[in-house]
Amino acid sequence: MRKFLSIGITTTLIIILLMGVNELPTFGEYDNPANNEVAHYYIEKATEDTGAMNIVTGIILDYRAFDTFVESSVLFTASIIVLLLLKKEKNSQDTEIDETIIQSTILKEVSKVIIPCIQIFGAYIIFYGHLSPGGGFAGGTIIGTSLILYRIIYGKKFTDKLLPYSRLIRYLCGSIMFYGLLKGYSFITGGNHLALPQPSLGTPGNILSGGFLLPLNILVGLIVAITIYFFFTLFDGGEI
């Protein structure tokens, strides 16, 4: 009975939505109502205003930077929630649940070569975020997975000396507050046309161009990497 009702409701919803899709403008025409002068303004003026060659990065980190700020805070909230739900205190009753330490030498030797390569690739995607596709999110995820690989191979005790919990939490909270400060400074001085010192735009095509784009990219990457690392360690048995 419940199955027929659910399939019936779904089919009704799909038919109503498909009748709406019938009326949409044709796919891929250039005079669609969605391609109005807002998109034309963004394409024309992106390099002069922000100094970014990648128009999408210029939009999400300069024209609409508050969207990125609130979305970083959504990631921060998710990591805090998982921390609240799944963290175990350091009781004495948990000492018999050992993690399986991998004793093979092949993994340790290969990981000494591969993990720095993964981190350099992730840092490349973050630093060139305004010149080629990528940005803070993808690069941050790649660095986070390299930390996860480190933790899988070397076990819990060894990794906790290197990346302790207190230091990671301090970096996470500091990153998001620093993002808010930087963007607030740029917003206030730009909006009121004050002549306070600002990072220069530079020539498009260099890494150090674009004013505030590079620091904001690095901060977003740091937030994403620490969140991904927290997700893994909390799901695998609570961390210290």
Binding site: G134, G135, A138, T141, G144, T145, I228, F232, F235, D236
Partner: protein, 72 residues
């Protein structure tokens, strides 16, 4: 490409073992990445490849280990 996506999502519904459903979901996410590249959005393709086919699958498999049940 779209037919493969629709077929994969129907297969997620009918496969009974949870591990098989998670693997098919990872393939679905990967085909979605190729589709983003066909529609000329490279930023989204890189982000979806790293996040969808990487992090979501790892989280599902870790949950499966915690609930101690790979139903045959």
């Amino acid at each position: 490409m779209l037919m493969f996506l629709i077929g994969a999502s129907v297969a997620v519904s009918t496969i009974k073992s949870l591990l098989g459903a998670i693997i098919v979901f990872m393939v679905y996410s990967l085909i979605m990445t190729i589709l983003w590249q066909q529609l000329n959005a490279p930023d989204l393709a890189i982000t979806e490849a790293a996040v969808g086919a990487g992090i979501t699958t790892i989280l599902f498999i870790l949950t499966l280990k915690r609930i101690k049940g790979v139903r045959k």
